[in-house]
């Protein structure tokens, strides 16, 4: 009801398949630990996720939960160590080199820190137009015209093409970053905490811009944020991530109205609110998220969960469908103590 932005899906082939999909995807990497040999970081573990065409999937969780890595797995920017990555129904898990570079125009990324995501020496025009140089045969004048169009789409004056990143504010740079991502006319835009370095007022303007672009261009967003208010304002679907796993997932309104997983509930209740009525019964989580080097057995949230039971340490709970939400928790799934597959 809040985001009524799902446009008509394009009537092209594969219209009903998700624009991007993860099937049992894992991303583990080996790190050297000083004095302790090697360790394996379980950044993303056995994740199933799909982003539908022209919609927004919000991905929330604390820092260290693997949200950014998950986006980079989906965009094939980091190695996939298990499972399949699909783009528009096509398996792209093993695509490499020039073919992968050609695929990249269909999926783009916007970063958290607007300042470090632009080459300080290049003009905004050069950065926004980089994809046009790489992927098209356009000549200089056509490129400049297209860059001006792209800047206009994000409400920046065309004259900004000649400026350098340091001459723009954070909000303006983040608009330019979106323009750069739109240059290849992607189907999917991964937005990695794009608003967290911005002011409240600027955030609101960006939310507005992103919704408008989605309505007009029919792009799908993977919107990563730890700010639940922003996720709520932008998303159709929300996935909650904890320590490399998705613990709860579903449409935005049921999830915000009646989350089932204790972690989702804690996240929701920790978010500051101006309304004193909503502050009652706040759940304050103890401690920090554990290290992904050595995740707890069974349900990974159990070490901070106030409902933790013996069974939680045994195996990861199987997904259940409750009120339209997919939940992995023994609280809502008490009758099945068998290890999930």
């Amino acid at each position: 009801m809040t985001v009524a932005l799902t446009p008509d899906t394009p009537a092209s082939a594969g219209a009903d398949s998700p624009v991007a999909e993860l099937r049992g995807v894992s991303c583990h990497f080996t790190v050297r630990l000083p004095g302790r040999g090697k360790g394996t970081v379980h950044a993303v573990d056995d994740v199933d996720l799909a982003v539908a065409r022209g919609t927004t999937l919000g991905l929330v969780g604390e820092s260290g939960s693997g949200k950014s890595t998950l986006a980079r797995v989906l965009l094939r920017l980091v190695p996939v160590t298990g499972g399949r990555v699909l783009l528009g129904g096509e398996d792209i898990t093993d695509v490499k080199g020039a073919r992968l570079r050609a695929l990249r125009r269909r999926m783009q990324l916007v970063f958290q820190d607007p300042y470090s995501s632009f080459d300080p020496l290049a003009t905004i025009g050069a950065s926004v137009g980089e994809a046009l140089v790489v992927h098209t045969e356009l000549g200089r004048p056509e490129r400049d015209r297209r860059v001006a169009e792209l800047l206009d789409q994000v409400r920046l004056p065309a004259s900004f093409a000649r400026r350098h990143p340091r001459e723009l504010s954070g909000g303006q740079l983040q608009r330019a970053a979106i323009a750069r991502a739109l240059a290849t006319e992607p189907d999917l835009l991964a937005l990695d905490e794009p608003l967290s370095s911005l002011d409240v007022a600027t955030q609101v303007q960006m939310v507005e811009l992103l919704s408008e672009l989605q309505g007009r261009l029919g792009i799908a967003y993977l919107f990563i944020s730890h700010d639940l208010n922003l996720v709520r304002a932008l998303s159709d679907q929300v996935a909650v991530m904890y320590l490399g796993r998705i613990v709860e997932e579903g449409p935005v309104d049921p999830l915000f109205a009646g989350a089932n997983h204790p972690y989702t509930q804690a996240l929701l209740s920790a978010s500051p609110t101006m309304d004193p009525a909503r502050r009652r019964g706040r759940i304050v989580l103890e401690g920090d998220i554990p290290s992904p080097l050595d995740p707890p057995s069974g349900c990974r949230f159990r070490t901070r969960c106030r409902h933790a039971m013996e069974i939680c340490a045994t195996a990861e709970p199987a997904p259940d469908n409750i009120n339209g939400l997919t939940v992995r928790c023994y609280l809502t799934h008490p009758k099945d103590p068998e290890p999930a597959v």
Binding site: R166, V204, I289
Partner: protein, 673 residues
């Protein structure tokens, strides 16, 4: 929000705390003259080298044995040498060989090093390992010995010498370039290029190389000086270009061998030229380093006497204590009245905080809120006089802490207050902690600085402090280094450190902005607990209204350097009287207007120095009238304890936060009161 914004003082405490002194400024001034002289000298030398045949008055090798060791004369400005050759002409011709070797050396070294460094840094892994071990082997030889060996193998022609030196210089350069490449590779703009689908070679050439070269400029200037010095040194040892060709080093050598005791003057011209040229290269290098690191100050400075380590105060004598009319908190711990702060800008002083007034009472949490660039951070830093002068100057008002006027305090007074009675916590705990010392070490040092404690007592107190901020297993955490702790833990350590001297006021500048909501909730709970149990007063600077509504007892809203509204928290959120406050409330993502989305607050905070006339908010205000555009207003009481700076405060009925499940913002309706 344009060109000049980054140069003007914003809310970046890092920038504001960068320190320089009077002494440094003088040095910088000399430095600029030095740059001009250096450039002039190098141009002179280069022109001499290029046009030697036309400029030199004599053939450099023309001997006149009847006229050896002649002093200055009209015919020979710098005299003649042991064979009666004109010294000036030989110097001019000598600059050809010396400068050619210098520039060739650095150019060849740079090309070699760029290839090695870029490939090693970008490829990483085994390639990196092999290339760098090779470079290490090169670095392990003493440079002069290595150069001698290479010259012995290659011969001593000008190009051979350049190549020899280049081989000596390249490994050091290569290491530096590799380091830069590794660092730049981690920047997100490189990942951005990768995600666009740009091929790796293009990324290296168009993204990494230019950035590496910018960082290398300083190194190049210094290397030019070093190359000249080394080549002269080698010539002095007799391994320069064969005689009779003149180079500066060989001239020095000839003078040294033939006339050290009989005509010592003859060593001076060549020696001086070498020294001046090396000095010129180094001066340029230093100036470039300063420019790159942004230390150079732009704009005019006023000439007030400033004291190191504290913000300069130059307020009019009569502008001391004035009550702001409402004596609702007569005995506040911190009373800020009419605070005015200016920064030196390019076109003279710019006022960034104007007549700001607020109070913090004992055991009270006061929020200072507003968008970035509103002057909240500057105000909070000025309390302990932490802004550096120049560019900052406090030009008016009063800051009283427990009755003492902080603006009259000298450095020693402030040192006793800083960290002991008033502590600060900043947004980025990692930047405020020393990475090379353990948490325990830093905590105990902070304590022992202020009170005499034995080692064991300090340790016990440190454990106690970590416990008080709910750090689990505190005794073990004492031996942890900052990087081993999570962001939330680090911020707790910072708070523990700030609490170590049992301060009465804690100034917290966006302490939770970098943290997760779950951790933020923990810190908020902690601050509340400290307020209740230790009667701690807190000034909390943030742009997060939802957070401040939960935490604080009193809120001051700042806009464009002014406090525009101030009220008890519940009152402010329920009945905002200033349109800016109402707009901020409506724009908060947690609040939804009738269309389901937060309301837009359009436009930007005006930059200091470009403020609109009249009410500073009027260009963004939905309720602005004609009078708002011309006349500014003081902060006046609109009800008990509620101050507002708006001429329409009485007549507007601005919507506040309605408590009931989801907050709702009603329709804007200017109604009669």
């Amino acid at each position: 929000m344009s060109l000049t914004e980054t140069e003007l003082p914003g809310d970046d405490p890092q920038l504001l705390r960068r320190s320089w002194s009077d002494h440094g400024r003088l040095l910088k001034f000399l430095m600029r003259i030095g740059v001009a002289i250096s450039l002039l000298w190098l141009v002179l030398v280069t022109v001499a080298a290029i046009f030697a045949p036309w400029i030199a008055p004599y053939d450099p090798n023309a001997q006149d044995l009847s006229n050896t060791y002649e002093g200055f004369s009209a015919a020979h400005w710098l005299g003649t040498d042991d064979l009666g050759r004109d010294v000036l002409s030989r110097l001019i011709y000598g600059s050809r060989i010396s400068m050619q070797i210098t520039f060739e050396t650095v150019a060849i070294a740079l090309v070699l090093a760029l290839v090695i460094g870029l490939v090693a840094g970008f490829r990483g892994g085994r390639t990196d390992y092999l290339l760098m071990r090779g470079a290490d082997a090169g670095l392990a030889f003493p440079p002069l010995v290595l150069a001698l060996a290479v010259v012995a193998v290659l011969g001593s022609g000008v190009n051979d010498i350049s190549l020899a030196f280049a081989i000596v210089f390249a490994p050091g350069f290569a290491r530096f370039i590799r380091g830069q490449t590794l660092a730049i590779k981690e920047e997100s703009f490189v990942e951005a290029s990768t995600s666009i689908g740009t091929p790796p070679t293009r990324i290296v050439l168009s993204r990494i190389l230019p950035n590496v070269l910018t960082g290398l400029a300083v190194g190049i200037a210094i290397a030019l000086g070093a190359a000249l010095l080394t080549s002269s040194g080698l010539s002095f040892l007799g391994l320069g270009p064969p005689p009779p060709a003149a180079s500066w080093g060989s001239m020095l050598e000839e003078a040294y061998n033939t006339a050290l005791f009989t005509h010592p003057w003859s060593l001076v011209p060549s020696g001086l030229v070498i020294a001046l040229t090396v000095l010129a290269f180094n001066t340029l290098g230093d100036a470039m380093r300063d420019t790159v690191s942004g230390v150079t100050t732009k704009g005019r400075h006023r000439h007030t006497r400033t004291q190191r380590g504290i913000t300069a105060v130059s307020r009019p004598a009569e502008a001391a204590w004035t009550s702001n009319g409402t004596e609702h908190e007569p005995a506040s711990l911190l009373e800020v009245r009419g605070l005015c702060i200016e920064f030196d800008g390019e076109a003279g002083p710019v006022r960034v905080v104007d007549e700001a007034s607020f109070d913090v009472a004992r055991g009270q949490i006061v929020g200072l809120v507003g968008e970035s660039g509103c002057g909240k951070t500057v105000s909070s830093l000025s309390i302990l006089r932490l802004l550096t002068s120049p560019p900052a100057h406090i030009v008016g008002g009063s800051i009283r802490f427990d009755g003492r006027e902080l603006l009259d305090a000298d450095f020693n007074d402030l040192r006793r207050i800083r960290g002991r009675e008033i502590s600060m916590v900043f947004q980025d705990p990692l930047a405020s902690l020393d990475p090379s010392f353990t948490i325990g070490n830093q905590l105990q040092e902070a304590m022992r600085l202020h009170e005499k404690l034995s080692r064991s007592a300090a340790r016990a107190r440190a454990v106690e402090l970590l416990e008080s901020v709910h750090i689990p297993d505190p005794a073990r955490r004492l031996s942890a280094y900052p990087h081993q702790l999570s962001g939330g833990m680090r911020q707790r350590v910072m708070i523990a450190m700030a609490l170590s001297s049992s301060p009465r006021l804690l100034i917290a500048d966006e302490p939770t902005t970098a943290l997760d909501v779950t951790i933020q909730a923990q810190i908020v709970e902690l601050l509340r607990e400290l307020r209740d149990e230790m009667d701690l007063a807190v000034l909390f600077v943030t742009h997060d209204l939802a957070l401040i509504s939960e935490l604080s007892d009193e809120v001051a809203v700042m806009y464009a350097g002014e406090v525009v509204e101030q009220a008890p928290t519940t009152e402010l959120f329920a009945r905002p009287r200033h349109p800016y406050t109402a707009a901020l409330l409506a724009a908060s993502p947690g609040v939804r207007s009738s269309n389901g989305r937060p309301a837009l607050l359009t436009g930007h905070v005006p930059q200091a120095g470009q403020l609109p006339t009249g009410c500073r908010f009027h260009p963004r205000c939905d309720f602005a009238e004609e009078a708002c555009r011309s006349e500014s207003l003081p902060l006046v009481a609109v009800s008990d304890g509620h101050l507002c700076r708006c001429r329409r405060a009485e007549e507007l009925a601005l919507p506040g936060v309605v408590s009931a499940g989801t907050p709702q913002i009603g329709a804007h309706a200017p109604g009669a009161s």
